[in-house]
């Protein structure tokens, strides 16, 4: 221990720490390995097995998985019209839900970020988050009772003298439920993006003669875009991956329901695995675009 000074101040007292001090890479390894190993083993490992399973099949007689490599599951997916319909329906509803959430989130996010006094601002933020602490199932099911015949929705329309469109147990009620469930996840990143928008930009825009709409279109929207895209990742992805709300508030099948049924009732894991690759592919494209738009910093 001749060169004790080079080893850091406490080399004698803590030889182990001294080693770490001299080898920052070792320290990095110790810090990074546990979380990385967890995600590699449990998550990426499972994802890889899922991918592998998608190329196997189930023996019709024994119900056992046969390690018989082939594209049979994907062929069924591609050639069966009902699966195509379900895929298009799921993506379509995910898109509509996302747009609806952005429209609903913009005013409240803007108000909280730029118009409200600090006290009101934190009250609004709490108000947006509180629903997330209530059972997701119960919130989804609340929409079943609201939209069902004889529910609150009909009662309100009755009071206003409007004939009820009968949205209970339909694609409408499912879309409404999704819009409701994911709204807080969309408001928060948009709020964060709008809060960072400097006042001077808006002043400059108005000094240069831009009206409200022009300022919104050319200053607010582009700068809020990363936050908006970040929020949209949540609403889009959560809709793609949900099979509970379609069971509770409607009787229409989504991608998640087909996967759930194939795991539970049909016990066809390989086919479920193959269908699970569809949302993975869709999200891969979506995330690639989101990355281009700078949404990852806003997540």
């Amino acid at each position: 221990m001749a060169d004790v000074d080079l080893e850091g101040p406490n080399a004698k007292r803590h030889p182990f720490q001294a080693v770490l001090f001299r080898h920052p890479r070792a320290k990095l390894g110790l810090t990074l390995t546990p979380p990385l190993a967890w995600l590699l083993v449990f998550y990426l490992g499972s994802l890889a097995l899922l991918l592998v399973n998608a190329f196997w099949k189930v023996d019709v007689f024994t119900g056992q998985i046969v390690h018989d490599w082939g594209l049979q599951n994907f062929k069924i997916l591609w050639e069966t019209p009902v699966y195509r319909t379900i895929t298009i329906r799921t993506v379509w509803i995910a898109g509509i839900v996302t747009v609806a959430d952005i429209v609903l989130a913009m005013p409240i996010a803007y108000f909280a970020a730029r118009m409200a006094r600090p006290r009101v601002r934190s009250l609004i933020l709490v108000a947006v988050v509180v629903p997330l602490w209530t059972s997701y199932l119960i919130r989804a099911f609340a929409w079943q009772t609201i939209t069902a015949p004889g529910g609150l929705f009909e009662w309100v329309l009755d009071g206003l003298g409007i004939p009820s469109p009968g949205i209970g147990n339909s694609l409408w009620s499912i879309g409404l439920t999704f819009t409701y469930l994911w709204l807080p996840f969309v408001v928060l990143p948009i709020y964060a993006a709008l809060e960072r928008l400097p006042d001077s930009y808006l002043e400059a825009s108005s000094d240069l003669g831009a009206r409200g709409w022009t300022t919104f279109r050319r200053v607010v929207w582009p700068l809020a875009l990363p936050g908006i895209v970040a929020g949209s990742i949540f609403s889009f992805s959560l809709t793609l991956g949900d099979y509970i709300a379609p069971i509770l508030v409607g009787n229409t099948k989504f991608i998640g329901n087909v996967i759930y049924d194939n795991v539970g009732i049909a016990n066809n894991i390989p086919f479920a695995a193959a269908f699970a690759m569809v949302p993975v592919a869709i999200m891969a494209v979506y995330l690639a675009i989101a990355r281009k738009l700078g949404a990852f910093e806003a997540l």
């Binding site: 490992g45 994802l47 118009m115 695995a273």
Partner: protein
């Protein structure tokens, strides 16, 4: 800046969104006190019998306890792994750093059914049987990022000069961690931990795939609301959980709001103790 009309429209939009957010919650609470099993509007009579039914329900209490167990262990795992990941990504520049951040976010960026399906396939392939442990593994996988996000954001706002000063003054790694780093990230840990707990406690998408015959509170609710006669009891349970959850919401808000000022105070106070060591 904004015209009068715009400001009015934004205010109106804010109020409408708030109403939209709270009508279903109000409906749940009102139906929890509804005399009739049929959930028709307006409710006919008032009762508290669903609450006494829920309190006396052994299956509900068992499910509740399971959920507490799962959420506690999940939160502990997420706190350790999430903050380790945050330190690694914040302190070091290394090859694949971006990939690590991406891998952390992936379980919440990809649809829930993918995580669910993948974990189920993984667990089946290895040959482990489903238990509370498999639920905890599933939940921790997507809760790590919640803690990571909170801690990494806090580390970015905490000046590294504090750590350097502590080391210069002769504190060793452990002393610096305990007296400088830990107080600086404490509130971020609590906020991230609360969020992880809440996510795990309420999770159903992944739970359904990795729980086997174990019943958690969301699974109990899922079974209850599909049987019309059990719905009022499920509403009562939801109202109770809502009431319970106000405690962590209040705590999280206090930590987020008063965090920066008290944190600086805590750091200053600790800093003064270090030279004495």
């Amino acid at each position: 800046m904004e015209s009068k009309g715009t400001r009015f429209a934004i205010r109106l939009g804010t109020v409408l969104t708030l109403i939209f957010l709270y009508v279903p919650l109000a409906v749940v609470v009102i139906y929890a006190f509804n005399d009739s099993v049929a959930q028709v509007w307006p409710p006919k009579g008032f009762t508290t019998k669903w609450f006494s039914l829920a309190f006396g329900d052994a299956s509900m209490r068992a499910a509740f306890l399971n959920s507490i167990k799962v959420a506690s262990v999940t939160t502990a795992i997420a706190l350790v792994l999430g903050s380790l990941a945050a330190f690694a990504v914040h302190r070091y520049r290394f090859f694949g750093r971006q990939a690590v951040s991406f891998l952390l976010v992936l379980p919440i960026a990809l649809p829930g059914i993918i995580t669910a399906m993948a974990l189920r396939t993984g667990i089946n392939s290895v040959g482990i049987s489903f238990s509370l442990w498999t639920i905890m593994i599933g939940h921790a996988t997507f809760c790590i990022v919640v803690v990571f996000n909170n801690v990494v954001a806090r580390l970015r706002r905490t000046p590294t000069s504090l750590v350097e000063a502590s080391m210069d003054l002769g504190a060793d790694g452990w002393q610096t961690f305990r007296r400088i780093t830990l107080p600086a990230i404490a509130t971020a840990l609590v906020a991230g931990g609360l969020l992880a707990f809440a996510l795990s406690f309420d999770e159903i998408i992944v739970t359904n795939f990795v729980s086997g015959s174990e019943i958690t509170l969301p699974k109990w609710i899922f079974n209850a609301i599909r049987l019309p006669r059990n719905r009022p009891e499920a509403n009562a349970v939801a109202a109770l959980v809502m009431l319970l959850s106000l405690v962590p919401v209040y705590l999280a808000q206090r930590l987020a709001g008063g965090g920066s000022a008290s944190r600086r105070g805590a750091v200053t106070a600790r800093e003064m103790e270090v030279p004495g060591e």
